[in-house]
Point group: D2
Chain length 333, copies 4
């Protein structure tokens, strides 16, 4: 059996989540009318210290795209990074959910947008009916390369978006890892967002993500769109239960800290090979094909990242023995 | 605590499903590359005695609409009953998934289509570019009024669809209840279908429906569309596990028989009030508002169906004490 | 050569329109930045005695569907008559332009909605996320059966729509015929509309319809959607020229009066056979198949309307000799 | 009055087109059932020396996007140049017509794709359900920078597309200018295309483009989609008439040669400033802002192209006095 560093997206379910699932089994009103679903708004309100309207959905793609569909008309556009998950890994789901809105691709180191790159993307667009006009900005916290936006960076991006009249969406598939790294408040890590895809599945849940709206009017649209997309599960209590379990006792942060710590342990020994600074639970290591071959031969499982790199991801439950072994193997390359 | 006859869609999860979920927790390749997901095709192949390609999804709406999206182009139409779930209760999801294809509404007693009603719907359409041309027929087995299509009826509908060059979709949210009632083979109950939404959630599962393609080419399209709709869960093994647990030892039939038996027990005492013959686990009882008030006062929970009727639904785990009490209460009306 | 009573939609172009086309040939800024296009808002403002924002498009289907797309979100619905052109004869164009919004079909004699039929359609919809919620009402003035809404009827429908928070769209493919019949002001004939598809093609133009917005904010959306639909012609001056020619000296009314008069001449002799009162330029005559055969044998061209009727349409340029001949032929049946 | 070098898209209508329009006025069957529309297939069949199915539409955007909609499913992609008109200047119309398919952007000098750039775009796409898979290639002949694909280049691109199982679309808004420059047969200039948007409006027509299908099955889809997009005009004979007039006596080539000649006259004097070789009727001249100011002061009208260039376009009816004056003004800069 391989030692898994492929992805956090298939890791085991946390025991506390299992417990919450079992406790949710008693028959309840269907859809999102059960007690657990009704508790989400206040639970996230307390976490973010502001009013929230929260919908559960089964996947990050659904969360991201439902959020965008409330912000952008079919004839509009969303500014995002060229390597954003919504652009590269969702099989066109944003185009589906928004009915053909355009992803307007912008640049930035480490798959992070900057106010300057947002401005550059906007400046390239003529203000006429021939070109698609932007309506929103989407950033990923932490980014697709495991890079976190500092609170000050988020604030500047939020200000830049607001100045151009654009809504802000935060893809937080690994939001927990970012907050754990940044040591800031949750709100500081997504400052100014109208909606946040608050990831749970990669962090110990089974099948639930929280779509958190800070712009409450958008949530009503999302509720209709969720049903219309076949994402309104009748036994929704089981999704709410997972999410509440993640918030309870800050399990989301505890799990993220464990994953981040495992990543840092590897980062230390791999510092000479790091393509990106390690700020979450992902490592991109400059490695030759034979080197990667050698690691795999020792039982480590991970993805190639182009010709010259390996992508390694740790999880909330990465076995310390596995990371210690991998650290040693990297050192020995 | 009310005695629940509102719906089967929020009932508890069957113990065997829980066991299967727990057993699926070991880390696995993500999405649908795990061993359990890979087992679905052959498991359903054995059940239906023909080649199948099976995708899990979280909801019946997603199953129905993904299926339709593979059969009908955006400029085409789907013939379905005026009271079909896809028309009345999916918030326009068919329009979303098919990109605006039209539901062409047809008639039929008990929310069941007939070859004649299909022919009539087709005959009303001019064969030109000004009118939407049909590409598929969708029927619900058992129907929205708990009416089952007999094998001979299914065969005739399939023949009628084939004759007009239309694909056939079967919405089987309560397919198990229909098969349990009919005592036929699973294939006889959906004879000629290109795709079947094989319902599990109403029958003891938590969050998984099986979308079964008998027309195997359509499955490849559905795989792309599922991802694009945000329905490709990364821990898909948990959906596959639920579905396999339903098939194991014919749990799907055992559960459906239990629900049907509870419904029959009520049907016997309510025979004078039945608006539809009871062929699955749904009862529609002619009742006055005061009568329904009286039932509710005794702790029974159910939906009104228009002004003069009550809809009562039994589940795999309907408490025999509850149905006995309800039977007595109905008799006493 | 047949005597044409098939449709007004292929009639010749009026000489004044030809003159206007020729006069518009001088090179101009492209799209809708030319002097003629810029004149449309004020020309219609004068006609309707209120602020208007006007876009030219090539077809009535485009006008109708662009209008609806500004009023109804993809997850919403439009209440219209079961026999409305948008439902029966646009190949699903409303579904295309609105991205899958639903046409919610209502009843009414002569293909005319009433406040009561609108209320009934609304009352049948549960206010939850499972059913498609209406956002607009669309009526056809004159209706698909050549029936005009009286000013008082329009006012009541507008009030009913407003009360339910719905926008009002008027399909005016034969708006001129309705106004000519009603003898009211143009605004009275579409009272309360947010947008009117003001038809010209059936009334002497070549290829231009005016989409008139009374709700000015919607026009900006329509401008983007028009481009996105490939309807922003670069030599738009030729469309504006046609429309202005129709307004000039009330040509639109003069032409409509001519068509209506021809229809009335036939209505007099056919009064015993009229299925609908003749209030515009369409006649529906109860006729047997052999009778229709006899008319055709005499050189008259028209459509069958089901098994037992003929549809006859007059045009701005129906030859008086042809209508006299037809009147005689009908009398002789 | 400025001397116009802004665009060819608003130029006057050619006298022969006017004549054809007038001749088409006689009442005819509506839509595309008139004699002129029925003549299009054979007229283009003769021109391209192969079977064609031809639809008229009002704009190049409609032609391009209808063509793409027949080739690419909503979940698929189209490879095109980063500066293709469909990407930069159609307000997202491809996303509208294809229901959200993705434009996969590729590189190439002069806005021309190459087999290598197509291969590179394909190689970057993983063959899984997470990434959008290409279904078609779209090239512009002549390109957005007035660059023509040589027959050998077209043949290689067609071969590359075919090898990957992709359909080929040619945006021929200025196809006439390309063929006039290349001196090849029309088919050689779009070799291997499944569909060609054959531009007329920029070349002397008023409001008609020909969408030419060489893959005949696609045309039937396009006919439905055209209606559904509101592009099936009822007096379609006027569009057919324009197109036939363009083909008659090779007017399309005559007009294109005139425009190209005017451009070459300017190219000669501007050779030191040419950013792209002049192969059609567009010139991109390296010029400073003050230089452009000086040209404008002399009465020349044109667009800036970024900070350091001017875009000048000649037309079929560019006044020789104007081009002579402009040539002199450029020489004098």
């Amino acid at each position: 059996m391989a030692m898994q560093f492929l992805s956090d997206n298939a890791a085991a379910v946390h025991p506390a989540v299992w417990d919450a699932l079992r406790s949710a089994d008693a028959a309840q009103p269907p859809y999102d009318n059960d007690d657990l679903s009704l508790e989400l708004d206040s639970a996230f309100g307390a976490l973010f210290e502001r009013s929230c309207a929260v919908l559960w959905v089964a996947t990050g793609t659904a969360a991201n795209c439902l959020a965008l569909a409330t912000m952008v008309p079919p004839h509009g556009g969303v500014i995002c990074h060229r390597e954003a998950h919504i652009e590269t890994d969702e099989c066109g789901a944003p185009g589906f959910y928004t009915h053909g809105a355009k992803l307007i691709l912008a640049e930035g180191e480490g798959a992070k947008l900057t106010p300057a790159s947002i401005d550059a993307a906007i400046a390239a667009i003529r203000k006429d009916v021939h070109q698609v006009q932007p309506h929103a900005v989407s950033v990923t916290q932490a980014s697709e390369y495991g890079r976190a936006y500092q609170p000050a960076e988020m604030a500047k991006i939020a200000a830049s978006a607001a100045q151009h009249g654009l809504k802000l969406h935060v893809d937080g598939a690994r939001f927990a890892n970012a907050v754990a790294f940044l040591g800031c408040t949750p709100w500081e890590a997504c400052h100014g967002a109208s909606a946040l895809s608050f990831g749970c599945v990669k962090n110990g849940a089974m099948s639930a993500e929280a779509l958190v709206f800070f712009d409450l009017e958008l949530a009503d649209l999302a509720r209709l769109r969720r049903k219309r997309a076949g994402h309104l599960q009748s036994k929704g209590r089981f999704l709410a239960a997972q999410i509440l379990a993640m918030l309870d006792n800050d399990l989301w942060l505890t799990n993220a800290r464990a994953a981040n710590a495992a990543a840092q342990e590897l980062a230390v020994v791999a510092s000479g090979r790091l393509i990106h600074p390690v700020q979450a639970n992902e490592l991109f290591l400059a490695t030759s094909a034979p080197e990667r071959e050698r690691l795999r031969a020792q039982g480590f499982s991970f993805y190639d990242w182009g010709e010259g790199a390996a992508r390694l991801i740790t999880s909330w439950n990465t076995d310390p023995a596995h990371s210690a072994a991998l650290a040693q193997a990297i050192r020995a390359l």
